[in-house]
Symmetry: C2
Subunit: 333 residues, 2 copies
DNA sequence: TTCATTTGTCGAAGCGCTTCGACTTAACTA
DNA sequence: TAGTTAAGTCGAAGCGCTTCGACAAATGAA
């Protein structure tokens, strides 16, 4: 930087001001400085800048612990968050930390490496959220906290349910099952599980059809068992909506065993499951494709905005899923 | 840090030496210092440390550009690399950069933020590898470079092919097709495509069975078309091995349309496809599960070792895939 | 005209660490 | 005994930036 200053015949600090724009610099001087930077192939050193300015321009995204099933959706979050960060001149580091043990998170934030963190897989009364609030540490969320406070982006689950249900209604289905995620997720207050359940039951009530909510562990086996007991009790069901990706092969297997054709006898639709995943199934699944990339991108942009002070008070953004019709849904029998 | 020094009645530098172990410190003094650190809840500041020492203890993993199909495997790489880094006191940042445009990579490395980078999706004559070599910038690879130089971990493709083929042979299959990835990947010299092709053809030659290699774009449609033309020409084929995940639904659809039962009439096995993915199919696929987590972890450990100088000259590590038998393979018809 | 304000620039003091050289004391060698 | 060496510690000089206060020159208001 000193070399640049010398070459441009200005002082060190003037170069700094020219780069950051913190103080006015005459057009002429600025040009000289930038030319010198170019010629010397100068790049400011992020660590030095961070040390002096107290802003590292590094963000972290908190990755849920590895054992839990991470999917393509999480991958999209992360990849797009990194992309968005990079576009604003930030770096993104990956932290994997136990959702329920904020101690690790405390250590990491107190290190002072990162300016802010992005949280995903938000649960009811999430201890990480509480911790970050207490520390007054900047963060944004993919998903919502109980009290709808803080900056977040989330999927519009209500719209998702409404759209898929309206679509199925249009095909003549009047007895529809909803395969949610596990009971324990529901009890833990995991947002998507809670909200889709509410939205589904609300839709059922308002439309007067018959709806059946089923909790199901994330395994084909569990899906297989649940669909069997369910169909035994309610043989009138003609459509299944599933937010449980891993249960779907189980449902399909049961259908094959009973000789139910999909979609002839039973329509099957996924929600919050990527098109890529839906295309891996035979028949290709109808799905409400989640806006994973946007969520990752926007959570990052939100955080950066709030760090840089251009904050529209509390931004709450809901993004809809997008219906992609496959070959697994058709007119009711 | 000064507070700690005062509290422990030593100088600033002594605290530094106690932490880093760079110079001998008496046991007694060290204890006093650590106690003071504890009491003051002191954490060294990574930026300051990095600035002074020229080592940021930050690594980067280079993410292939987003449009290209990223899968669970890549997610595992990244997640486990972050985990491994964190265990050694490093941070991992995510960089997404075009595989074929090293310019971005040059900028990023010259910034001086990171101590080393992890590369994946290595191609023949990979320009990123060439660049990093020219810059003498530390890196490790998930995958191999042409000349087998540098530090890498990779899947043992030969073993993978041998194991799945031996398994199929044991079931009596004598006419086996291998669905590889696209022709263009092959021409680009993408490691897995090149190596599995060679290994497959080698196995076929040595065992005397009939083998058919098929290049296939990563889509169900392409898989559907290729299997149809292939079976028309070679109706004796009783088993398909696929390293092309997305082609598999197409193969299954064709099988269903022709009335070929899987595995009764046609056995279908995936390689380098995760168990998680295999479980999403009906019937559950037999697969050679890739050691994604280990690859991510080891690539990171390799890099850290070489950065810290504990380098066993050029470490070349091959990790085998693991056969997980599903319901898609059975005795030859 | 005079005083206040704005614009553009500079020098210097840090940011929180690492590391070098120097120093002291104790222990070992010749 | 003097001369080395090793262990343990300290002070101070940076690392490459940002930012504060100061100041000169140009501009506007009274």
């Amino acid at each position: 930087m000193l070399d640049v200053a010398k070459k441009a015949n200005v002082s060190l600090s003037t170069v700094s001001y020219a780069i950051s724009g913190t103080r006015p610099i005459s057009e002429e001087t600025r040009k000289r400085i930038f030319k010198a930077m170019e010629e010397l192939n100068y790049r400011p050193h992020p660590l030095a800048r961070g040390l002096a300015s107290k802003h590292s321009r590094i963000l972290a995204i908190l990755f849920p612990a590895i054992e839990r099933g991470l999917g393509l959706t999480e991958l999209e979050f992360v990849a797009n968050a990194a992309e968005a960060a990079s576009k604003s001149g930030y770096h993104l580091v990956l932290w994997s930390a136990e959702t329920n043990d904020p101690e690790e998170l405390r250590q990491l934030t107190q290190q002072g490496l990162v300016d802010g963190v992005i949280l995903m897989e938000i649960h009811k009364n999430d201890r990480r959220v509480n911790l970050l609030r207490d520390l007054d540490f900047p963060f944004s969320m993919i998903g919502r906290y109980d009290d709808d406070s803080g900056e977040y982006v989330d999927i519009d689950f209500q719209q998702t349910i409404n759209e898929i249900m309206t679509y199925l209604l249009g095909l003549g289905h009047k007895d529809i099952a909803f395969f949610n995620q596990s009971q324990s997720s529901f009890e833990a207050g995991y947002g998507p599980v809670v909200r889709t359940k509410a939205a589904f039951e609300d839709f059922v009530r308002k439309s007067g059809i018959n709806g059946y909510t089923v909790f199901c562990r994330p395994s084909p086996q569990s899906g297989y068992e649940k669909i069997n007991t369910l169909m035994e009790k309610h043989p009138d069901i003609t459509a299944v909506v599933s937010m449980n990706e891993r249960a779907i092969p189980g449902i399909m297997r049961a259908a094959a065993e009973h000789g139910w054709k999909i979609p002839g006898d039973l329509s099957l639709a996924a929600i919050v499951s990527s098109v890529k995943m839906a295309e891996m199934m035979v028949p290709r699944l109808t799905t409400m494709d989640p806006p994973s990339a946007e969520l990752g991108r926007m959570a990052t942009e939100l955080l950066i905005k709030s760090l840089e002070g251009n904050c529209d008070e509390s931004p709450h953004i809901l993004i809809p899923c997008h219906l992609v019709v496959g070959e697994s849904t058709g007119p009711a029998a």
